[in-house]
């Protein structure tokens, strides 16, 4: 069982590097794993896989719609295609291709999307998608996963290769603390309990998990005990874990690098409204686009910082 003391950063690595490592591992394990990209092999940190398996690498050029369709065809023929590009181009740009050729057609395609959210940084709002979890979550049958660090991303890639069905895997660009133990089991659809607490539940996904850990440490100093849960799989949601925690604490905070509409916060609100109505605070972008800047200063400006999580926890507890 993990706890706040055990969750220490062992250094910084990007989740996209975790993708690259996981892709190589998945490629080693399954000879039908194929990687596709739309002119972003470097950004996807996939050189180890490409060098090891050049015949299973498909360069599509800047043609994302075609890449999704080619992936659907490869899956039809029994391959496990991993279609890779930036999250904006992997979802919004090709929503109908994913909807018809992948989701509705029940294709075993893995959409692996880097540079999600504000932490993409300097490229700015055109590339900083904050709506992708919502879009992908609405597609029937789609599994949606947003891992939180290098180790979890690597484990997630191996897991999705073994899972039959369409998956949206969302990760990011910046170097980020690595804190999930390397041998931590990754189970699609099963929440990861990071710290047992009694006063407030914090559900976090992606990069903000690290901030949630830091917030929980601060709250502990003030005598507030945080039940901290990492929701890496937003769909299917681990409803049992969400409901049990909310019933225990009676106060909920959700943290995500995504619009407050449609993402993790929405998913948990939908669950709790039905099974255990609970006061909830949303740490998410406030229905806005992003802008250029450095990753961490953007998170702070858009209300996704450690202090924002602490404040949200206090509001959820009626202390603000």
């Amino acid at each position: 069982m993990l706890n706040l003391d055990k969750l220490q950063s062992t250094g910084k690595k990007a989740t996209r590097d975790g993708f690259g490592a996981g892709l190589k591992a998945a490629g080693d394990a399954h000879d039908n794993v194929v990687m596709l990209t739309a002119d972003l092999r470097g950004s996807m940190k996939s050189e180890d896989f490409i060098n090891a398996y050049p015949d299973r690498f498909v360069q599509c050029g800047i043609s994302e719609a075609n890449m999704i369709g080619v992936s659907a065809g490869l899956a039809t023929a029994g391959k496990i295609p991993m279609a890779t590009t930036f999250a904006n181009f992997a979802t919004g740009r090709v929503y109908d291709q994913i909807r018809q050729s992948v989701a509705y057609s029940d294709k075993n395609v893995k959409i692996c999307a880097s540079h999600a959210g504000l932490t993409l940084g300097e490229d700015g709002a055109t590339h900083q998608i904050l709506e992708d979890i919502g879009m992908m979550r609405m597609l029937p049958g789609m599994t949606v996963i947003n891992p939180c660090d290098y180790n979890q991303t690597k484990a997630a890639v191996v897991a999705i290769a073994e899972h039959h069905g369409p998956v949206y895997l969302r990760f990011g660009r910046p170097s980020w603390p690595v804190f999930i133990p390397e041998d931590q089991e990754f189970v699609i659809g099963k929440a990861l309990h990071l710290n047992a607490g009694t006063d407030v539940s914090i559900f976090a996904t992606g990069h903000l998990v690290w901030y949630a850990i830091e917030a929980a440490r601060e709250l502990a100093k003030e005598g507030i005990s945080v039940d901290l849960i990492n929701i890496h799989t937003i769909k299917p949601l681990d409803e049992a874990a969400v409901v049990a925690s909310a019933k225990k604490t009676g106060a909920v905070v959700t943290c995500e690098e995504h619009n407050k509409y449609g993402g993790l916060g929405s998913a948990i609100a939908e669950c709790l409204a039905k099974h255990a109505p609970t006061r909830q605070e949303f740490v998410a972008t406030d229905d806005t686009f992003g802008e250029s800047g450095e990753a961490e200063e953007l998170l702070e400006k858009y209300g996704l910082g450690v202090k924002d999580i602490i404040a949200a926890a206090k509001r959820a507890l009626g202390k603000a």
Binding site: V34, C60, N66, I68, S71, S101, K107
Partner: protein, 284 residues
């Protein structure tokens, strides 16, 4: 392979099935379905190696993708007569709880369908994917994909048109139904496409041309494309007449997406010989 007279008998029955399917549900797209009947009969009864027991991955088989999914009644009829599912099931076309959706889908488990189509422009990419997988697996069978001519206005088509020659998919045959019609009118008036052959040649494809309503020529051209392995994909620009086989439906976009009434359906059926037996249905 059935002889040409037998193939023509199958085509006549398929055209009857199209009229009767569309009449029964009073919706659907008879024009393009009638125009492409000879092509699909040629593919499934003379050209392709395929297994009606249906294996999704199609290993060791030729594959057909229908990208312009709205002409589904012709595909359903051909698949049924080829043994993929019972011919009687054609009466459920577009009805509630049917496997024969308005546009083809894998979602209801209908044998013979490998991907959903309907939202246009996506089938060529999927066909590229299967052709690529066959290359990776050393499977030398051929992948055929049909698109409409209006469908060629979709941008994704041209992404795939770049992809296939770059990846040397000489096991891919794209057939463009160049009937010159789309829903809003003649293609040259809606959005002029120019000469498809010139365009595809410029993109690095081998180009062939055929009259898709001439069964013998269609079979010969398809077989030639199927046998070709020269590092280059093939585009067949296929002239057809929308509504072919029914005199008052020929050559006009008016029957692109419109069902005949009872009198019109009866009149159409008098022009199409019942050769293999009609599927049972009330009122027609």
């Amino acid at each position: 392979m059935a002889d040409i007279q037998e193939l023509k008998r199958i085509a006549s029955q398929v055209r009857r099935d199209i009229i009767r399917q569309v009449y029964l549900c009073q919706s659907g797209h008879p024009g393009g379905a009638l125009g492409n009947t000879d092509l699909l009969v040629a593919l499934y009864f003379a050209v392709m190696k395929h297994d009606p027991k249906f294996n999704m991955d199609a290993k060791g088989e030729d594959v057909f993708f229908l990208s312009n999914g709205h002409i589904s009644p012709v595909w359903y009829s051909v698949l049924a007569h080829a043994g993929y599912f019972p011919v009687e099931e054609l009466k459920t076309f577009r009805a509630l709880n049917s496997r024969l959706q308005g546009h083809p889908t894998t979602h209801e488990g209908l044998p013979g369908i490998r991907i959903a189509s309907g939202s246009l422009g996506q089938g060529v990419s999927a066909a590229c994917g299967v052709a690529l997988a066959k290359k990776m697996d050393g499977d030398d069978r051929t992948v055929f994909v049909l698109t409409g001519d209006g469908e060629q206005q979709e941008g994704q088509i041209w992404e795939a048109a770049l992809f296939a020659p770059h990846h040397k998919l000489d096991n891919l045959v794209l057939i463009i139904d160049d009937n010159g019609q789309q829903i809003d009118g003649p293609t040259r008036e809606v959005l002029r496409m120019g000469d498809f052959g010139e365009k595809y040649a410029a993109f690095g494809w081998d180009v062939m041309r055929m009259d898709g309503n001439d069964l013998e020529q269609t079979i010969k051209t398809l077989q030639e494309a199927q046998a070709k392995r020269n590092g280059v994909p093939t585009c067949i620009v296929m002239k057809t007449e929308m509504g072919q086989g029914v005199d008052f439906m020929v050559g006009t976009h008016h029957w692109h997406g419109k069902a005949p009434n009872q009198d019109q359906a009866q009149k159409a059926l008098t022009q199409l010989e019942e050769t293999l037996g009609d599927f049972p249905a009330e009122g027609i």
